[in-house]
């Protein structure tokens, strides 16, 4: 067992005690800190279900060693809408029919939030390329693309307004 270490998740410091040093960030977030919104589905960084932001960059938390992330900012699906009401991305996913089983959804929300920060008005190809690291088995992606397009359009309209 390792010494106590401290992780900063969604702006809150968490002391991780009595943990095996080999635990992934995904495991520690879910099982030590109790943030179950981040999902594990492949353990190889192929499916994007476990996406979180690490110092603002999108990473697969299944591939990140938790104990090495002290002093960095970790943001999970639970941390993107602190006041509890859904973000525009989350709302658009619901309204566009982009959610079926929902297992890939938290990872896709994280990836979409990051995509629209970097590219506010993405083309269809940019959406597909940027999100191609997130696998969805239910939707065939059509409603997901539609949701992303909706958010980008609404944000542009809001900016103009």
């Amino acid at each position: 067992m390792a010494e106590l270490y401290r992780l900063t998740v969604n702006g809150v410091d968490h002391d991780v005690a009595d943990a095996w040093i080999g635990e992934s960030l995904l495991f520690v977030l879910r099982e030590r800190i109790g943030l179950l919104g981040t999902k594990g589905a492949c353990e190889q960084g192929e499916c994007g279900s476990c996406s979180v932001l690490l110092d603002g960059e999108l990473v697969c938390s299944c591939l990140v060693l938790a104990a090495a992330q002290t002093g960095r900012s970790i943001v999970t699906i639970e941390g993107i809408a602190p006041e509890g009401s859904p973000t525009d991305v989350q709302q658009a996913f619901v309204e566009a029919g982009a959610v079926q089983c929902g297992f890939c959804t938290p990872g896709l929300i994280m990836a979409t939030q990051r995509l629209l920060e970097r590219i506010p008005a993405p083309t269809d190809t940019e959406i597909r390329e940027e999100l191609s690291g997130n696998i969805c088995r239910c939707t065939g992606y059509g409603r997901l693309v539609s949701a992303v397009v909706d958010v980008a359009r609404r944000r542009a309209e809001g900016d103009r307004g």
Partner: protein
């Protein structure tokens, strides 16, 4: 093209509205609890030891070193199974734990419970197993010809069934034939197998929170293995991260319950992705020979076929998958004469069972490839040959069964044909290399790319077949203007929890509908498979709500001293149809009162096939057409699917947005089978049990999908609505392969099409 209708935001929607999922907000917030998200104070972790060999005798099994590891609470083997030692959906032929022989790679041998997943891993490593390794049986033909000794007491043939129809001596002027091969596809649901088992005090029973497709079938099989009455094994549906057939069979259920009962503590088990590939059944790989006889106008006169499905080591649902495959030999086309021979056999490959399309996917790839050969031989185009033979309501199938379902095959083809072809030039409008085959690899030479167009049309049976007592149970309770629905229907992402309240709102004139916890606290709903829940559980909810409405009308009729038959629901009120000014809101009418009804809904009975494959074995049918456009890089053998157009026979779209979601999602899985998805087996070993090596369609692989919903209400269906889940993934696969053939002018006879099939 049918775009989803406007979402009704002002009021909770009725039948036909694109109502949003009730669990949508929880899911986007990460607050929805899947069966992997159920931590309990003091819970142990469980894990399973699996065979590293596809065929071997267990010479020695010693678990004592595992017991010695600190943190290990229990270790169990076959000797610890108190009830039936085997389980299975159709026949209990699969051991809970292998004790003497192992019959496939990954077969469970022992399980442990410990304080941490890492402790579990070390405990499994410590278990000593010595094997006498045998040559595995991997060639299905050797299972048929008897040249390999039986690998199971049940023998190497799971089922042999013929279909003989009409005159076998008929010979056509035009004869085309082919040998076809379908690879092993995985359901690849994102939510890995996971569960929580909580034992009752004194190990008298257990509560299992699990992701499954059929709570009551699980309950029955688990209870038998535990040696407990079914009432002592209570199942609660954990959040299900997709299913697609892969959760119809048991995986971890018995193991986790045994661990919990043995330790007296809650236990969680989570499979990893590799274990998931090893631990659940797959789509049957198949070899199909088919020969079509036709006259010179292209009319089909006779079909001959031989199907060989590799069922792997245990029977699972192979029996029923074979029925579906051989009874769909003709596809959605008229044919009087047929000679079909079907085999489902046992090998030392992984067990195969249900996956979306269930036997029909395999048949459809063969019959649609044949239709294109027939078209070419008759000088017709792919659309003309299909219209020439399109099935209609009232036609007799090769099983002798008459198609009573609405059968808009011709309309599906014509509506698909009417959808616009892509206006994008080859390689995309913006000179974007990402749009070329190979995408980000930037490997394609634009001038070499060839475009092709292909067709596929399918028929799919709905619900269970061959005499199965297929039913669904639902309860509706109406009190104080609120309806509460209770059913054991597994919500796996398809959206039954969205449409069930729509049905209740429409029938009862209310807005507030609560869906109770989905568990075994009510009778079975049957399986969430076979495109059956809209019809079956939808039918049960519909019938329960109608009974409650009758009770409500009796109550109001009594108060008004009028015949309840005069009463109707209008908007939110009960109204006297002969005196429309007399009305009362349902909320007022039910204030302080409670009306509750439980209904078991059955579809009409079906019959088993006789020895010649004759009988009314299916309940109903749905139809679909697909047209695919592809760009192919013949140098590297890479394919970019450019567009899919489809028209699907849905009866009535109860929720158009959900229907579109099913259609697009099914098409993605059919595209996967066409060009990338295959579990590659060699000598009984799985070479690619990971998402790195088993390729799934990504955002970049999926093209735009143009969809027309063909809405012709089916009078046999309780709501006029047919199941929509399976048809999308069936004929899109042959359509894409036909498009690749069209692009490169080469015969392709297996799926998935691999680069070397195209360019070597």
């Amino acid at each position: 093209m049918a775009e989803p209708r406007t979402i009704a935001r002002e009021r909770p929607g009725r039948i036909g509205d694109s109502v949003l999922r009730p669990d949508g907000v929880e899911k986007v917030q990460g607050a929805y609890r899947f069966s992997s998200d159920l931590p309990v104070e003091g819970a142990l972790w469980g894990a399973t030891l699996r065979s590293p060999h596809p065929s071997a005798r267990i010479v020695r099994l010693d678990v004592t070193p595992a017991w010695a590891i600190p943190g290990v609470e229990t270790v169990i083997t076959a000797a610890d199974v108190p009830g039936l030692a085997t389980y299975g959906l159709v026949q209990p032929d699969q051991p809970v734990f292998a004790s003497d022989v192992v019959r496939y790679l990954g077969e469970p041998i022992a399980a442990v419970a410990a304080d941490h997943p890492e402790t579990c891993r070390r405990a499994l490593e410590a278990i000593i197993v010595e094997y006498e390794v045998h040559e595995p049986l991997v060639d299905p033909e050797r299972a048929i010809d008897g040249s390999h000794p039986p690998i199971h007491p049940g023998g190497n043939v799971i089922r042999h069934q013929r279909v003989l129809s009409g005159d076998p001596s008929v010979v056509g002027d035009i004869v085309v034939e082919g040998d076809y091969e379908i690879g092993m596809q995985d359901q690849a649901f994102l939510g890995l197998e996971a569960a929580l088992a909580v034992p009752d005090p004194g190990a008298a029973g257990v509560e299992l929170h699990v992701a499954t497709q059929w709570l009551h079938e699980d309950q029955k099989q688990i209870a038998a293995c535990l040696g407990l009455p079914a009432s002592a094994v209570r199942l609660v549906l954990g959040g299900v991260g997709g299913a697609f057939g892969g959760r119809e069979d048991l995986s971890l259920q018995v193991h986790i319950c045994l661990l919990a009962l043995r330790t007296g503590r809650p236990v969680r088990v989570h499979y990893g992705r590799e274990e998931s590939f090893l631990g659940h059944i797959h789509r049957h790989p198949a070899r199909i020979w088919m020969r079509h006889h036709a006259d010179r106008t292209g009319q089909i006169l006779k079909i001959e076929a031989r199907f060989v499905l590799d069922g792997g080591a245990y029977a699972s649902t192979s029996h029923a998958v074979l029925t579906n495959a051989i009874t769909h030999t003709q596809g959605p086309y008229r044919c009087e004469n047929a000679v079909v021979d079907g085999w489902a056999v046992r090998t030392n490959n992984p067990p195969c069972g249900a996956m979306r399309g269930f036997g029909v996917v395999q048949a459809c790839f063969a019959h649609e490839s044949q239709m294109d050969k027939l078209a070419a031989a008759c000088g017709l185009d792919p659309v003309a040959i299909r219209l020439r033979n399109a099935m209609r309501t009232g036609d007799r199938l090769i099983t002798g069964q008459v198609v009573e379902s609405v059968a808009p095959v011709e309309r599906c083809i014509r509506e698909t044909d009417a959808l616009a072809l892509p206006d994008e030039p080859i390689g995309g409008r913006f000179d974007d290399p990402m749009r070329l085959p190979g995408g980000a690899g930037l490997t394609a030479d634009r001038s070499h790319i060839r475009r092709g167009i292909g067709w596929g049309v399918a028929v799919k049976n709905l619900m269970f077949s061959e005499g199965f007592d297929d039913y669904a149970t639902a309860r509706c309770e109406l009190a104080d203007g609120v309806a509460t629905l209770k059913f054991a229907t597994a919500e796996v992402g398809q959206g039954f929890i969205t449409i069930a309240p729509q049905i209740a709102r429409t029938l009862l004139g209310i807005d507030d509908v609560v869906v109770d916890r989905i568990d075994t606290g009510i009778g079975s709903a049957g399986s969430t498979s076979a495109s059956r829940q809209t019809w079956m559980s939808g039918g049960a909810v519909d019938a329960a709500c109608r009974k409650v409405r009758e009770r409500l009308f009796e109550h109001v009729g009594g108060r008004w001293a009028v015949d309840p038959l005069r009463l109707v629901i209008e908007d939110d009120s009960v109204v006297d149809s002969l005196d429309p000014d007399r009305r009362i809101t349902v909320s007022e009418a039910t204030a302080g009162r409670r009306f509750a009804e439980t209904v078991e809904f059955r579809h009409r009975p079906t019959q088993p096939l006789d020895e010649n494959g004759q009988g009314d074995c299916h309940t109903a049918f749905a139809f679909v057409a697909h047209r695919a456009v592809v760009d192919v890089d013949p140098d590297l053998g890479l394919v970019k699917v450019v567009q899919i157009a489809t028209a699907q026979d849905v009866g009535v779209a109860l929720n158009p947005l959900s229907v579109i979601g099913q259609i697009e999602g099914g098409i993605a899985q059919g595209l996967g089978l066409a060009v990338m998805e295959e579990i590659v087996m060699r000598d009984g070993r799985m070479l690619n049990p990971s998402f790195t090596d088993y390729l799934l369609p990504t955002f970049l692989d999926m093209p735009p999908v143009l969809t027309t919903l063909v809405e012709e209400p089916d009078p046999q269906a309780p709501l006029g609505a047919k199941g929509v889940g399976e048809p999308p993934c069936i004929s899109v696969t042959p359509a894409i392969v036909a498009a690749i053939r069209d692009a490169i002018g080469r015969d392709l006879h297996r799926v998935p099409v691999r680069p070397h099939d195209i360019c070597l």
